[in-house]
Structures are given as C-alpha cells and as structure tokens.
Symmetry: none
Subunit: 228 residues, 4 copies
DNA sequence: TATGAATGAGGCTTCATTCAT
DNA sequence: AATGAATGAAGCCTCATTCAT
C-alpha cells in the first residue's frame, strides 16, 4: 500500500521534474533570444544555457521550431488572459477597459512582446508547425465573439463609430503591435521618453474609433470625415 | 576628338548598364522575397533571377545584407518623399495631409512594406552593415525637424493634444507599422474587408492625437488621469 | 521444504518469464524490420512494440547488434534443422532430398529469409559481434561433413558431376540466396508468377550439378573444358 | 573569331574538368566503400579522399544517396552492355553466349558487384531517389525483350525447358547474384578455390534449364522429375 | 569584367547506450 | 529488476563568400 503510494509519488515527482526542465529550456531560449540575434541562437546554445545536453532538448521538443512556437503560445496565453479580464471589466461598465487592459499587457514587457512578434515572423515563414501555428491563431481569435459583442454594444451606445465591430479591435491590435516595434526600432531609439510615449499611444488605443472624435456633426461616415 | 567622345560615350554607356544591372539585382531580390520565405532566398537564386552570375552580384554588393539594406533604403526613400510632400501640403493648410500622405504611402503596397519591415528585422539583428543602417535611420529622421515644426504649430493651434511633438508622428509610425502587419498576419487573414479596414485605420492615424477627441466629461478612464 | 520448492518454483517461473520476454523482443524486432526500412528501426521502437522499457532491452542484449545476430541465429537454426533432415532423407535413398529440403526451407518464408540476409550484411560490416558471427558461421558449416559425405557418395554413384563436393552445396546456397533476392528485387517485382518461378528455380537447385545434364557432344562451350 | 573559339574552348575545358571531378568523387566513394563498412563512409570522407571540399560534393550530387545510385547505374550500364553483347553472339548461333557473357560480367569484379548489391539494398530501403531507382530497374529490364526472344527461340528448338521464357533469365540473375555473395560470405571464406567454384557455378548458369537434364523420358514436368 | 566552381563552418537532428531511481 | 530521461558523438546538408579563369 505504502509502496504503491510511494511509487506513484515518485512518478509524479519525476513528471514534475520533467516539466520543470521543459520550462528551463523555454526560459533559457527566451533569455538567449533576448540577449542575441535570434538566428544566432542554436539548439546547442539553448541546451548549454539550460544546463542540459543537446539531445535532451529533443526529448521535450520535436524540433527547434517547437521551442519557438511554445514561447509564442505561452506569451499569447498571457495576453489572452488580459483580454478576457479586460472584457469582463468592460462588460461591467468600464467601456475602455478592454483596450486598456490589452495595451497594458502588451506593453508590460515590450521586449518580450517584440521577441514574440519576431519569432512568429520566423515561424510563419518556415512553413512547418502549421498545426501549432493554427493553435496560436485560434487562441488569438478566442475572444473575438466577446470583443464583437462588447464593441457592438459600444457602437449601439454611440460610444464607438459605426463600423464593423472588428475594425475596432483590429485597429487596437495594429497600434499595439506598432507601439512595441516603436520601442525597439533603432531609428527612434535615441529618445528617452519611451514610457510617456507609450502611455500616450495607449490612450490613443483606448479612445480611437470613438464617435465624434472631432465635430460630431461633421463625420457621419469615414469618407465624409475625410472629405472635410 | 570623335574618338574621345565615343570613348566617353562608351564609358557612360557602361555605367548605365552597370546601374541597370544593379537595379535588376534589386528587383530580382524583391521579387523572390515576395514569392518565398525570406530565408530561403539565396544569393544564387537572386543571381539566376537577375540573369547574371553569382559572382557578378558581388561586384555590385559587398555582402548579401547590402542587397537587403539597399532594398530597404530604396523603399524608405519613397516613403520619405511622401512625407515631404505631405508636410508641404500640411504647411499649406491641410492639417491632416502629412499623416494622410504617410499612411497612403505605407499602405500603397503593403506587401512590399511588410517585406521591408522584415528585412530590417533581419538586418538589425545581424549586426553588420551598421553604417548603412545608420543611413536608414537618418533618412527616417530627415523629416523630423519639419514634422516637429508642423506638429508644434498644430499643437499651438489647438488641433493636436499638447504632448511632445514627436509623440504624434511616432504614434503615426506605430499605427502604420501595425496596420501593415495586420494585413498579413495569418490570425486575421480570413477576413476579406482589408481595404475598408485599412481606410478606417488610416483615418484614425490622421485624426489620432487630436484635441477633444471626445467629450472630456465622458471618460473617467486613463484619459482623465492625463487631462488632470 | 515446501518453502524451498515454492522458491525454486518462483525462480523457475521468473526464468521462464525472462526468456519469454526475450522472445518478445526478438519477435517485436522482426515484426518491425519486416514492416519498415531496417535502419529506421530503433531500439526504442523495438521496446515499445515489445511492450517493455528501452532499458530492459539492454538487460537481455548487450547491444542492438546482438538482437540482430540473435534473429539471424534463430533463423539459421531452422535452416540447419531442415538441412539435417534433408541429409537424413538423402542418406535413406532420396538423392535430391537434401537440396530439396534446403530450398523449401529457404523459400518457405522468403521475406524473413531476405531480412536475415540483410541483417547479416549490416552486421558483418559493423565489425563488432565477431564472436557471435563466428557462431553463425560454424552453425552453417555444422553440416558440412555430412554434406560432403553425401555429395561424395552421389559423385561416386555418378549422379553428380565430379568436382570438389562442396562445389555442389555451395552452388545450392548461392542459388537459394539469389532466388530469395529475386523475390524482392524491385526490378522484377512487376511479375506475378513468383511461386512458379521459385518452383522452377528450386528444381534447378535440386538437379544442378547432375552428371550428363545434356548430351556431352552437344556443348562445345565452357562445359567441354570441364568435361575433361 | 579566335576569341570566340578560345572562349568556347575554355568552356569545354571547364566542363571536362567538372566531369572529371565528378568521376573522382565516384571513384573515391567506391574506393572507400570497398575498404570499409558502407555505413561508416561519410560524405566528408569521400570529399577528403577525392581531394575536394565537402561542399563541392554537393555541386555534383544533390544528396549522398545520389552518389550511391550513380555508382550503381554506372556499374549496371556495364552489365547491360555485356548482356547486349551476349545476346548478339547468342543470336549468331552460340546458344549459351548470353548467359556466359552475363556470368563473366558479374564475376569479373565480384567485389564491386557485391558492393553494388549492397548499395542497392541501402537505397531501396531509404525510399527517396525513387526516380533514379526506376531508371535502374528500366535499365535492367532493357534487354528483356531480346532475352525473351532469344529464350523463346531456344525453347522452340528444344534446348531449354518449356517454361515462361523469363524463368530462364531470372534464374540466371538469381544464380549470379548468389554466386557473388558466396564469394564474400564469411561462412565460406576459408576456402581458397573460389575461382574454380565460380567457374563451376557459371557453367551451371549457362546450362541450367536445359531440356533433358536427366533422362528426357522421365520428366514430363518439373514435379515429375522430383518424384523420381 | 563576368563567372560559377569550390569551400567549410556551422546548423539541426538522430539514436545507441548509460545510469539513477 | 525495470525504467526511460539524459547524453553527445556524428551525420547530412546549406549557403555566403572567394577567386582563378
């Protein structure tokens, strides 16, 4: 009896260790990716950093790309969580909460966010891992319904401009994406007020698409507003 | 004399041919990059597509990366040109012209724009070509003074919110950057109304940062904290 | 006493289980080898198929190659048994029985026979397992004396051509070997009358080397030189 | 004019050198394969032996397997040539010439023949290079029509037993195949009279399937002959 | 001047074997 | 006694760059 339980314990213990090592690999990879050019990071280096043998990496991940996609998915789960929270708060009355929450999440660790953007680029190009890439996309889209619902409500209430609901959250996505790149693009790197800049942009993200951004009576439609 | 002139002609002719070939290389590279995954494009393939020998490529470009940066620079020159035009029109009274012009330029050929974004990523990471990268950054910044002037004016006129002027155009940069990525990110690829979406985002880009985007008393959110 | 006996029983039981598992490994390996390309079969796969852990395999076999040689030896024991039987029947008067029996044995499961041929190839090349390889060779040669005796008798009786006795059985070996390969060589794979073909070849095997295969005066060719 | 011709010469010269190097690679590979276990020969070793860089090998062959198949094809072309010659001589009246020629060809350099057998094994298992493998098979079958014709004639003339014509030449193939293996199988390696043995087997190959191998009136059918 | 054959460093991945539990 | 995670040597292949013609 005791034997049974102890053996089960041992197995559980082992599994925990195994998963811990998996995380070590991920962490090592992220560390290295953040330190050095992505495509100078080899599986070998990751193994060394994780303190394990190269072959061991392949006990956890079928290919190098699976490490990348895992990093991306882990990160995206965080973002998704934030969106979910934001939507809940928004449904509870705080109309800008979803966008706000989203921007906060993406800008909390912009370097990591940027890394994930870049990894995704590499992966999509590489062509394999299509399955897991699809998982990523579905994860991203997992909140679409809620977002659409929320946005529609805001449009109905006249808060947001009357365009297809997804326009609003996709615009948010775009701005957040670009904001992160802005943080690290060497062109603008000489500036030192990044924090304030990001706050400014976040605010834009939260309010963009709001009805009556300028004189309400002057833009019944996108086109119209332009003709002005 | 005639001999002289004909020899000069010949030299000029040669130079023209040389330059034409250089452009052929660039064009070939762009074509290929647009067709296939960036890192599956080899110098060899570029040479074949350009209809010349691989060695000849190296008569024009010291390294493969120089081809990339050249593509980027060529493209950026176009963008810069549009910004300049926009600024001029803005100075002439059309306050949104600069942003509008910028978005139009970046979204005119979004696939190419995206390609350039990706090439820049690779290059920056690679570390060499620092010189030419600096050239790129300076090119991008070449309009900063004018943009700052224009933006300051608009702030003074109360059109734009009173934040450091560069916040406004960097926000534009970010949104445009993200918009382009939005076009090609597979997550949202299933949508078909990209054109309208881009128009919507462009409009945001043109108007974002405008003063009094909404009724001040209607947003207890982030905005408030700032207005304070 | 009872304790003793039950403990002895238990040991015997264990041994039986151990041997049974050994056979399971062998069987699993053979199955896999027959299903897929030999060098795509890993020890791991064998363990999985056998339903045991990879480490356990190494409790039974010192190296992967030992599994191979064991498969070969097991098979060769069967063949040897058939030869022994054939020789006995031949000694009892059925002059072609040895060869006939041999061909039947080798062609009974030609796929397995071919597998064993291939495994032997790999092993011989690999160089280790020299000891067990030698065991294989001795097993094969274990009937040589009897075969020599039998063949000599048949030569003396004028049934077989008067050449060194081993020429006869080695020729048999060669033909059987080639016949098996013929079954699986893709060049001839499109044919469907393999069974008849094998029967034809077996008959040749049984009768080849027979004296007076044709009228001596009818072959000015190679034969002549020998008939001397 | 002279310029033209000299430039053409140079190109031709280059091509010749290129092809010569290709042959050097093949030769190096064959040398190594004959010296050492096939699967211990790496592309690297081949390159070293050929006196070139590893990368150069891949200018000539797309994959390592292409080197193997090339060796096989080269060899098989030789064999095919011999068969063709033999058929011609057979058509000219020497009924055993085809088989004789075939055995001579296969046994002229049995070590190489054996090597080719082994390479084919590896290749077939590997699964890729299906195209070139098919080329090999077609090459082997290229003489089938002629062989069928020849064999049919010999059957009609009563020289060969009346079975489907291909039985005869496939039996030849099998015997030759096995004979070569016999030469190098370590089981029989201790013998020293290989030459005579091969001669004996060749003779069998030339005459096997001949009508009336034993008393003509005693074997109306294969089976019958056995019952005796 | 244009060429493209040659190069070789370096990446990813596989798998037989070991050994701590 | 059984396990299977860990290991790392070794293999194949790619491709930017060089350089002799």
């Amino acid at each position: 009896m005791q034997n049974n339980s102890s053996s089960a314990d041992r197995i559980r213990e082992k599994k925990k260790l195994f998963l811990a090592r998996e995380q070590r690999i991920i962490d090592a990879a992220v560390e290295l990716f953040l330190e050095e050019s992505i495509d100078r990071i080899t599986v070998s280096k990751i193994a060394v950093r994780a303190g394990i043998g190269k072959g061991t990496v392949y006990k956890h991940f079928l290919t190098k790309n699976e490490i990348l996609i895992r990093i991306i998915l882990d990160y995206e789960h965080n973002i998704t969580k934030s969106i979910t929270d934001g939507i809940q708060r928004a449904d509870a009355g705080d109309s800008g909460a979803a966008a706000k929450s989203y921007f906060e999440a993406r800008l909390e660790n912009p370097k990591l966010d940027r890394l994930v953007q870049q990894l995704e680029d590499r992966l999509v190009e590489s062509g394999d891992v299509a399955d897991q890439a699809e998982e990523l996309y579905q994860l991203r889209r997992s909140n679409e319904d809620a977002l659409t619902g929320l946005t529609t409500k805001l449009i109905d209430r006249g808060v947001l401009e009357d365009v297809p609901p997804h326009f609003h959250y996709l615009a948010c996505w775009a701005l957040a994406q670009g904001a992160v790149e802005l943080c690290f693009n060497k062109t603008w790197n000489y500036r030192t007020d990044t924090t304030e800049l990001m706050e400014f942009i976040s605010n834009i993200g939260v309010t963009m698409g709001n009805q009556g951004q300028y004189h309400p009576d002057d833009s019944p439609s996108i086109k119209k507003s332009k003709s002005k």
